[in-house]
């Protein structure tokens, strides 16, 4: 082996603590990079392949009941490759052995699966062709959640009649890889929502919808003409009961998957980048010290005839060693972790054609990035070798220039501090670059921690606001169809019900000039005590007798302010378009983003006193009544206000795991930084520290000097890191689509405290790990050697 390389390896071995620490940072960065980008590639390839092969339509035309013959009109439009009419209807369903209410979406499919848009992937069983009546293919995850098998019986309630259907098998559709009924549901509920696929003719017959469709799905020849075809479709179907023409991006499952992929990709670049930058900084500081410490050795090497270039490469070798080793270890770990991450996604997404493959491109990019970052840092530190003249290198370094820093001149109290503290600040000033780097690195660590913990804070606050005092009803009863308001009085008749209030929820299209947004408007009772809204200042807000309250998010995306007039049209009732005045802005809740008085909403729908649900309070111990209520034919579901929270926290498991991983990793990084700077500043000042020891400073007093420096730097790092974390967090939160869930921007004090405690812990640990270096310092030896 080349002797210089041997020196490199031995040097690394004798300072292994420092190199392991920095290696860890690089390994973490590259592991995250590989894991996230590989699962991103796996997922996005699979999904794309799946959409393509199984023909996910490009456009979804929703109609009121219309004649089947209009499908051919769609087919004739220029740019349309295929169009298919179908029925999509939601019905309640029962299965034996399960008490809860199940919402079944019944979708009609053509006789042959091969010709179909939204081709089904049959996981088990057989396709529902015309030869088999009374059978339905059932969404796979629902079957699995209930332990159902091919041949099991399902009881959908169609037109008030309990029908018997046999499960022909388990199926997955590209339209429901994330099986949620609408984008308003954040998490799939595999037990209570399912999709049944029925042969088209059979379904028409079953529902009494002969010759009728209520949806046309369209595949385009070229996606570039989406807008044109959409316009054409809108024009064509205008007089045939058109409700809306939606694109893939408006489709719930597609949107969720897309969001997830975008999040995964951006995480795949952002966090690893931070780790690599920090790793490079640490390498830079390490090498800077090494070159300074080994000046005389460099002089000797030069005197022996080594070229400056070969010596430069010798020092660069340290950085490349870390970069290369880190990228290989990180690559291997990342591949392994990426596999598990991808599999974890499968719990949530129904992708039957998952293609896991090792992406050599990602792996290579990781190696390049790691070696590149480390190499650049190493080169910048090692290049000072080029400036050293051999004779000069053998002489001792001139004493460091001591200076008072401007802080002492500007702030007289600093000059009045005890000498040990004055020394601390001057040392920080003396190594400005390193101090800044360390502050930056600690700030990033704190920033990552806060940005991530902040997500939890925001979710907590959201739930607290949405389900805390403001929602004090016990149950929300959702009806299978629109009901007359009088149903509320009927509910009150029950002995168990102490109070009931009407509620209406309908989707509307809100328009302000060219800006358009589809959203759910909730109609509630004025001055309701069980469903309270609050304005942006947190004060109680009440729905006006006329006009509408909007959430801030919706107002922003429509570009309106209080007092403006917007136009609203019920999505399922064309011709209901009318103007409404924005009367105020309210805090975002989950669910709707517009709020009206229930009567005003009815008038907007051009309907009588119609409601879709009721909010009730019940007597203590009414569980059996609730069961009874759930079983009533007109009741779709009975939910507690925090059902959604419970469901959400279940879904959060994955998020918590990710958050845990990122926090752990940033902790390792934080410790590596502080440990390394501590070690460097001790090694660099061994002579100074030894002088102090000889003069009679105790080990403790000497450690204190180092400790003070770390403390001061860490405090500055915290001061910078806290707002930085909030800013990063705000970026992450802004990433979530507002109409799905608009998180409030908040950092609880406990999060800041936690970050501060963590950093304090690192400082203490790094100090303890380095105490030996101070107490074992051989005073005589240090004073003798003239470094």
């Amino acid at each position: 082996m080349n002797k210089l390389m041997l020196m490199t390896l031995r040097d690394i071995k004798s300072n292994k603590g420092q190199y392991i620490a920095v290696l860890l940072v690089v390994v973490i960065g590259i592991t995250m990079y590989n894991a996230t980008l590989m699962s991103y590639e796996n997922l996005s390839h699979s999904v794309e392949y799946y959409y393509e092969e199984y023909r996910l339509p490009h456009l979804f035309v929703k109609l009121n009941k219309s004649s089947e013959s209009i499908v051919s009109a769609a087919e004739r439009i220029d740019g349309v490759a295929a169009a298919q009419g179908r029925l999509v209807l939601d019905v309640p369903m029962e299965i034996s052995g399960y008490e809860g209410k199940i919402q079944a979406r019944v979708v009609s499919v053509p006789k042959s699966n091969d010709d179909a848009l939204n081709r089904l992937y049959i996981d088990e069983g057989r396709y529902v062709s015309g030869d088999y009546r009374d059978t339905a293919l059932v969404e796979k995850l629902f079957m699995e959640a209930h332990g159902l098998e091919t041949g099991s019986t399902l009881y959908p309630i169609i037109n008030g009649k309990r029908i018997e259907l046999e499960a022909a098998g388990k199926a997955v559709s590209p339209e429901y890889i994330y099986p949620i009924p609408s984008a308003r549901e954040l998490m799939p509920d595999y037990e209570r929502f399912t999709i049944l696929y029925l042969e088209h003719g059979f379904m028409q017959q079953l529902f009494g919808y002969e010759g009728v469709v209520n949806e046309v799905v369209v595949q385009l020849k070229d996606e570039a003409y989406t807008e044109e075809v959409k316009k054409e479709l809108e024009y064509t179907f205008k007089h045939y009961g058109l409700i809306s023409v939606g694109e893939r991006e408006d489709q719930a499952s597609y949107m969720m998957m897309d969001n997830e992929l975008m999040g995964l990709e951006s995480m795949g670049y952002s966090y690893p980048m931070i780790f690599l930058i920090i790793g490079s900084i640490v390498i830079y500081m390490l090498l800077l010290r090494l070159v300074d410490n080994q000046r005389s050795q460099i002089g000797v090497l030069m005197a022996l005839g080594f070229t400056k270039r070969s010596i430069l490469f010798h020092y660069l070798g340290y950085a490349l060693f870390v970069g290369f080793t880190g990228s290989i270890l990180g690559g291997l770990l990342g591949m392994w972790l990426g596999g598990s991450l991808t599999r974890y996604y499968l719990v949530f997404f129904n992708i039957p054609v998952l293609q896991i493959r090792t992406s050599l491109g990602v792996l290579a990019a990781g190696i390049l990035m790691s070696v590149g970052f480390c190499g650049i840092a190493g080169y910048n530190a090692a290049k000072r070798v080029l400036r050293i003249a051999p004779a000069e290198a053998m002489r001792p370094v001139a004493p460091v220039e001591g200076k008072k820093w401007w802080g002492e001149r500007l702030l007289p109290f600093l000059a009045g501090l005890r000498i040990s503290w004055r020394l601390t600040f001057r040392n920080m000033w003396r190594n400005k670059k390193r101090t800044l780097f360390t502050i930056f690195a600690i700030a990033m660590t704190v920033g990552i921690m806060i940005s991530i913990l902040m997500l939890l804070d925001s979710v907590d606050l959201l739930f607290d606001k949405a389900f805390g005092d403001s929602l004090s009803y016990d149950y929300k009863v959702t009806f299978t169809a629109d009901m007359h308001q009088d149903i509320v009085n009927d509910l009150m008749e029950f002995r168990e019900v102490t109070y009931a209030e009407p509620m209406a929820e309908y989707p509307f299209r809100m328009t302000n000039g060219w800006r358009q947004k589809e959203t759910v408007v909730e109609g509630i009772r004025q001055k309701s005590d069980i469903y309270r809204l609050s304005d942006l200042n947190g004060n109680r807000a009440d729905v006006p007798g006329e006009g509408i309250l909007l959430t801030e998010g919706l107002a922003k995306s429509l570009g309106v302010k209080v007092g403006d007039t917007i136009s609203m049209e019920a999505l399922y009732k064309p011709g209901t378009e009318h103007q409404v005045t924005v009367k105020g802005l309210v805090e975002q809740y989950m669910g709707g983003s517009g709020f009206m008085e229930v009567g005003a909403l009815n008038r907007a729908m051009k309907e009588g006193s119609t409601i879709s649900s009721a909010l009730i309070k019940v007597r203590y111990g009414s569980e059996s009544f609730i069961k009874e209520l759930e079983g009533m034919p007109y009741v779709q579901s009975v939910k507690e206000p925090d059902d959604m929270v419970k469901q959400y926290y279940e879904y959060m498991d994955l998020m918590y795991a990710m958050i845990g991983v990122i926090i752990t990793m940033s902790c390792i990084m934080g410790f590596a930084i502080i440990y390394n700077t501590t070690t460097i500043s001790i090694m660099e000042r061994r002579r100074e520290l030894a002088s102090l020891r000889i003069m009679g400073f105790s080990n403790k007093q000497v450690s204190e000097l180092i400790f003070n420096e770390n403390t001061a730097v860490s405090i500055l790092g915290l001061v910078v890191g806290m707002p930085l974390g909030r800013a990063i967090g705000a970026q992450i939160i802004a990433f979530y689509p507002e109409d799905v869930m608009s998180l409030p921007l908040v950092v609880f004090p406990k999060t800041y405290v936690l970050a501060a405690i963590t950093v304090a812990l690192f400082v203490v640990l790094a100090q303890l790990a380095n105490m030996r270096r101070i107490s074992r310092m051989d005073l005589v030896e240090v004073m003798k050697s003239r470094e």
Partner: protein
């Protein structure tokens, strides 16, 4: 007549370097009295630094004892030795070892801050002739000036004894003489015991007593009846 400040009994120090043992100091017996100016003379490798390090509480003997005012240094643990150095010994090094980040005055204050019964910092700086340079940083001072700051730093905490390891080793003879002059004056006016180790025989003439070391042994001890003035030393 004189009070013994430090006494060594059969002091030996053996360094083990791999398979080789080096006897740096062999059976050294000596007494140093309060208020004395002693020069320890010897070529490099003769054991003078080892002796100084043991007396200064920076190193421990392999055999024998070093007794300071009746207290055996070998009985002290690390903390005890730190306290011993802090209270009784002022070190002066060949390369000054000032803290580059502190001014001359602050370098001296550094030690007075942690001891009680210290001398006035400015008075001490005045004594070494650097009152006017008190607010200069080491990098703004000449070598001789830096060494005088080191002397001031050693003296200011009011120790019993100054231990000087080649204090003029890095200086030319003019500036070296100034430093020696300062040492002598501190010895005379403040009554501090001063122990200088050097390989420079010329310096010996200013001492009260000279110890000659050779191959780890004390070869000879000479008392000088009429020490000469440092100004007259030539080398």
């Amino acid at each position: 007549m004189e009070r013994v400040l430090i006494r060594t009994e059969d002091l030996s120090k053996i360094y083990h370097m791999g398979e080789v043992s080096v006897e740096a100091l062999r059976d050294a017996n000596l007494e140093i009295y309060k208020g004395e100016f002693v020069v320890i003379l010897g070529p490099s490798g003769s054991g003078k630094s080892t002796l100084l390090n043991i007396i200064g509480g920076m190193d421990t003997p392999t055999l024998g004892k070093a007794i300071f005012k009746g207290e055996e240094l070998g009985d002290l643990d690390d903390n005890g030795l730190t306290r011993y150095r802090r209270e009784n010994i002022g070190f002066i090094f060949q390369f000054y070892n000032l803290l580059p980040n502190l001014t001359a005055r602050e370098n001296v204050e550094l030690v007075t801050d942690m001891s009680s019964d210290t001398l006035d910092v400015m008075e001490v700086l005045d004594k070494v002739g650097l009152k006017d340079r008190a607010d200069h940083f080491p990098s703004q001072l000449s070598g001789g000036e830096q060494q005088r700051v080191a002397v001031a730093r050693a003296v200011a905490k009011n120790p019993e004894m100054l231990l000087c390891d080649e204090p003029t080793g890095a200086l030319d003879n003019t500036t070296g003489r100034v430093v020696l002059r300062v040492l002598k004056e501190i010895n005379e006016s403040l009554g501090k015991t001063v122990l200088v180790i050097t390989h420079n025989a010329a310096i010996a003439e200013m001492a009260d007593r000279v110890l000659y070391l050779s191959n780890g042994r004390i070869a000879n001890i000479r008392t000088i009846e009429n020490p000469i003035d440092p100004e007259r030393i030539e080398w």
